[in-house]
């Protein structure tokens, strides 16, 4: 991508994404952490757009910001006495070292490998093609995913259901 707009957009969005993600780990207050997480998700959605993945970008906003961030907020608000602190446990240093090693390895591999870069331009209309693939070639995983979601819903409801819940207005 040599287009000036795309390059500028990439650097801005990458800075937002990584900066917000660092903030998520560093900030002390858990609610601030979630807000920064939302910013980071939005940055990733923007990066998807620079990669011409418009459908995935919109899905990212819809699911990550609209659903998962909200779920996390619910979990924080529903556990009031557990504290809103975002501090590290005793595994702080080993975790930092391991994460740095993993990041270093992956970045090294990314630059060391000679990828089979294609000359293809960005995708034109991903939504239709993804729909065709999902209901054609990947129909079975698609159905399994829906069963997985259903079982997750039922499981989540069963887990938080209070003991001896009443059966509605009787």
């Amino acid at each position: 991508m040599e287009d000036t707009g795309a390059v500028v957009a990439f650097w801005i969005l990458a800075a937002i994404t990584v900066g917000a993600a660092l903030g998520v780990a560093a900030v002390r207050n858990l609610i601030h952490s979630v807000v920064l997480l939302i910013v980071s998700f939005a940055g990733v959605a923007g990066l998807y757009i620079t990669l011409s993945a418009d459908f995935i970008a919109v899905v990212q906003i819809l699911i990550y910001i609209g659903a998962i961030a909200i779920l996390i907020i619910f979990a924080i608000v529903l556990t009031p006495r557990a504290g809103r602190l975002n501090q590290e446990g005793f595994m702080f240093l080993p975790a930092l070292v391991l994460a740095a090693l993993v990041a270093g390895t992956m970045i090294f591999v990314a630059f060391d490998t000679s990828w089979a870069i294609s000359e293809r331009e960005g995708f034109e209309d991903t939504a239709t093609a993804i729909g065709d693939l999902l209901l054609g070639k990947y129909a079975l995983p698609f159905e399994i995913a829906s069963v997985l979601l259903l079982s997750a819903i039922i499981g989540a409801i069963l887990l938080v259901r209070p003991e001896g819940a009443e059966e509605g207005p009787e």
């Binding site: 994404t17 504290g83 990828w115 993804i130 499981g155």
Partner: protein, 105 residues
């Protein structure tokens, strides 16, 4: 600096993944751990999409399909894990993972 390639996106994905990994391993609050897992998902998804865009392939959209399934699983995982957090809180009044030591010797 004047052009953006696959490597740039891979670095962003790797950094996101590492931050998520660090949070998952180090945070004491269960919700913090979950946030870390979501960040890792995002790093992986970004990597998938950038490969899908840049790398030579017969069916380049397969990366997008994979990301859709990752997002589906992430949503299911978030719902169940947060239900677990609320359940743990109801049972033990804390969601500090360092104090979840019932099975410790």
């Amino acid at each position: 600096m004047d052009s953006v390639n696959l490597e740039h996106f891979l670095v962003v994905g790797a950094v996101l993944f590492a931050i998520g990994l660090y949070m998952t391993l180090a945070k004491r609050n269960f919700v913090g751990v979950l946030i870390g897992i979501e960040l890792m998902f995002n790093g992986v998804n970004l990597t998938f999409i950038s490969f899908s865009r840049f790398v030579e392939s017969a069916e380049p959209l397969n990366g997008h399909i994979f990301v859709i399934f990752v997002i589906t699983v992430a949503a299911a995982e978030a719902a169940v894990a947060l239900a677990l957090a609320v359940l743990l809180y109801n049972l033990r009044d804390t969601i500090d993972v360092d104090r979840m030591d019932l099975l410790k010797w």
